[in-house]
């Protein structure tokens, strides 16, 4: 490697070496700027986790129960007798129901996490503060 040296007073700078270093550092900087993910904006859905309780007190107020069902084209939501095709319809229905006794979300084994999150989001949007997710009891 041939260094072109230039004198500045008493100091000697290896100009070519410094230029290479700066080039490398800039390449590293560009690499990290392009690959770094400062995080997609994230949200969070708070829920309590309650174990299945078959012997729950009948005297207690019954919460609204949403069952998420897996289907080929997405998830369906069952509330009582009604089956809803999407989260928007679920939100609209939940908004008409009393919120005092809370809401419990359960899911069929084949329902995806996407559908569970959609049900929790609908419950949150409909104003249910007391939300629970109940995993199926059977392993």
């Amino acid at each position: 490697v041939k260094f072109a040296r230039e004198r500045i007073g008493e100091r000697v700078l290896a100009s070519n070496g410094l230029t290479s270093l700066i080039d490398v550092v800039f390449l590293l900087l560009v690499f990290f700027v392009l690959t770094a993910r400062f995080g997609d904006a994230e949200g969070r859905l708070r829920t309590d986790v309650q174990p299945a309780a078959p012997g729950a007190s009948a005297a207690a107020l019954q919460p609204v129960v949403v069952r998420v069902i897996g289907s080929g084209s997405g998830e369906l939501f069952v509330v009582g007798e009604r089956t809803l095709p999407n989260a928007r319809a679920l939100t609209e229905l939940l908004a008409t129901l009393p919120r005092g006794s809370g809401i419990v979300v359960t899911a069929q084994a084949t329902a995806r996490v996407d559908g569970i999150a959609a049900a929790l989001q609908a419950a949150s949007d409909a104003g249910f503060e007391d939300r629970s997710y109940q995993p199926d009891a059977t392993p």
């Binding site: 997609d40 969070r44 829920t47 309590d48 999150a117 959609a118």
Partner: protein, 122 residues
């Protein structure tokens, strides 16, 4: 100038790595989350697409999860648990995890979501 650039490189090196350690990559559900944004919690449980679990970046098994959670609770208290579950996982994959969480007497779980990403369920 070169000092500043080097500092930036070191910053990116550290922030990139740290983010991976604690919040392992997962394709989260596309939902906006709660309107009053919840603060991130230090207790992060990730369920990857292949079903592997990691708690705070350390791989755990479902069998060992309750004990690990109890140990963490003894150290730091029962903070809310952030669940970062891949959006495509079936409930059958996360129900055992949540039963284990419940066994360890953790009650509050926060499902992490991607708030701005498109492609959520209709």
């Amino acid at each position: 100038m070169i000092d500043v650039v080097l500092q930036l490189v070191i910053f990116f090196l550290f922030t990139t790595r740290m983010g991976e350690i604690v919040r392992s990559a997962a394709d989260l559900p596309r939902q906006p989350g709660e309107q009053d944004r919840l603060e991130p919690t230090d207790l992060v449980l990730t369920v990857a697409r292949d079903g592997r679990l990691s708690l705070g970046g350390v791989e755990v098994t479902i069998a060992g999860l309750p004990d690990r959670l109890r140990a963490l609770a003894a150290e730091t208290g029962r903070a809310p648990l952030e669940l970062r579950a891949d959006r495509t996982l079936p409930a059958a994959a996360i129900d055992p995890v949540l039963r284990a969480v419940s066994t360890a007497e953790f009650r509050e779980v926060r499902f992490a979501t991607f708030a701005d990403a498109p492609g959520g369920p209709p």
